[in-house]
Symmetry: C2
Subunit: 275 residues, 2 copies
């Protein structure tokens, strides 16, 4: 199953949950995916009645209102190596907000002069409440997988020990375009994840090389805080970020960043350093 939150051109101000059937987006209830998940109408492993086809549907940010967005850093071997760190015993976690997210084709707008960097990531979407979950419980609670770019403001990230202030700039983390259920994609078996800047490939790896996989991350996080349907966990980025290159390579105004995970889709976002 492929879920999205889409804009129906006949109701442009009401983003709607939708499911892809025979190449066409069909409505699922009246709210967006977060609304549907919060209401229980959509859950991991179950889909509500499928409504009418939406002609000209355009996927937007699939999850506009998660209660929690948790990210894992240092989770691919080559990225750990490029930051000069050792393979971690525990996941390095930091959060973003619902406010941090934008849609799959939205501009990423930041102030002129900041050191903006790319981080292609696989994201996992929670489809059932999780608290102190076992690995099996966490696996059963996965609604599906989507694509994210944990665009990072490196100069702010480096200002202090805690990365948060470089990671939580409003409307800078593209998400989408679709959420694909685990029966269709298996990140543990290996999906190619890649990032391109103005067409030049800067990251490429396989999700099979994650140190902590999606299910492990959900179970671990649920030890200290509840996860709810619609929450999102970003699983970390592979090697190839701009900051650790020599010389460092940061995003410029007008750059086009494409972020892709095999079997899910592509985010295509233009960077605007004009805020």
């Amino acid at each position: 199953m492929r879920y999205a939150t889409v804009i129906d051109p006949t109701r442009p101000h009401e983003p709607r949950a939708a499911v892809l059937r025979d190449g066409t987006w069909h409505a699922l209830g009246d709210g967006d995916l977060c609304t549907l998940l919060a209401s229980g109408a959509l859950a991991a492993g179950s889909t509500p009645p499928v409504g009418a086809a939406i002609e000209g549907a355009v996927p937007v940010n699939p999850l506009p209102a998660p209660t929690k967005v948790v990210c894992c850093g240092l989770n691919y071997g080559d990225h750990i190596a490029e930051t000069g760190r050792e393979r971690p015993r525990f996941p390095t976690l930091f959060p973003k907000y619902a406010d941090t997210l934008v849609g799959p084709t939205d501009d990423v707008v930041l102030p002129a002069g900041v050191e903006a960097d790319w981080e292609a990531e696989l994201a996992v979407v929670v489809g059932a409440p999780l608290r102190r979950a076992s690995r099996d419980e966490a696996a059963a609670a996965v609604l599906g997988y989507t694509v994210a770019n944990d665009v990072s403001v490196r100069d702010w990230q480096r200002r202090t020990l805690e990365w948060f202030q470089g990671k939580a700039w409003d409307a800078t983390t593209p998400l989408g375009p679709v959420v694909v259920t685990p029966d269709e994609v298996d990140p543990a078996a290996g999906l190619t994840i890649s990032c391109r800047v103005n067409g030049v490939e800067v990251q490429r790896d396989s999700t099979a090389t994650l140190v902590f996989d999606s299910v492990e991350l959900l179970a671990y996080i649920s030890t200290f805080t509840v996860l709810r349907p619609g929450d999102v966990v970003l699983t970390g980025t592979p090697g190839g970020i701009g900051m650790t290159r020599d010389p460092a390579w940061y995003l410029a105004d007008g750059d086009v960043v494409e972020t892709e995970v095999e079997g899910i889709g592509v985010l295509r976002n233009t960077v605007r350093l004009t805020d």
Copy 2:
């Protein structure tokens, strides 16, 4: 003005916003303080019509549903010294969730065996939307001040570079008991902040010695993410935490932690390491 969210014994399942008048809590609308602030009925510098007295009102967590809870670490000189660090140029920020908060007399429940530590803090409550705010705009948006204890799970905090997983355990950060408006208390002029464990004083300092004051923190955070009415910023803890003592002193099952800020009030919470 002193605001709270209280339990009215005649409507025990509906926490209500209230204001103190002549020593008695009076109702302010029907929801809790967050509901009232989100609706705009209560804002920095303005109070809605005061309703009837609530006999036997008991203050609970004043802010049960902030959209953001942001904390500043390393913000008092003696605490910076005890952690062996230098006076920072920028605030060290990390977040908690609404789920992390509990009320002023609630138990703090954690699993047996964790290294639980105290951190008495002054908290500032946002009373108007803030985005890229100047210091003056931030000052005008302060609804008031309350007391918090950033109870920290040190073994989890030390697992990785990022403190988040030691700071965001559900229902472990006491908040309250009241929110006092800036015309009644001035943290910049100096309020005594203290913490006692089983009656033994473990922290005492003045809020006048904060490196980054409440208003500075609001303005700084609003550079990268919007703050909304009802959001809470914890301003950091003074010296005297348990982790840096020799030997380290962690909270035990049954310990009573009292957290006090002069002119605001006292939190009194029992630690239960039984979760």
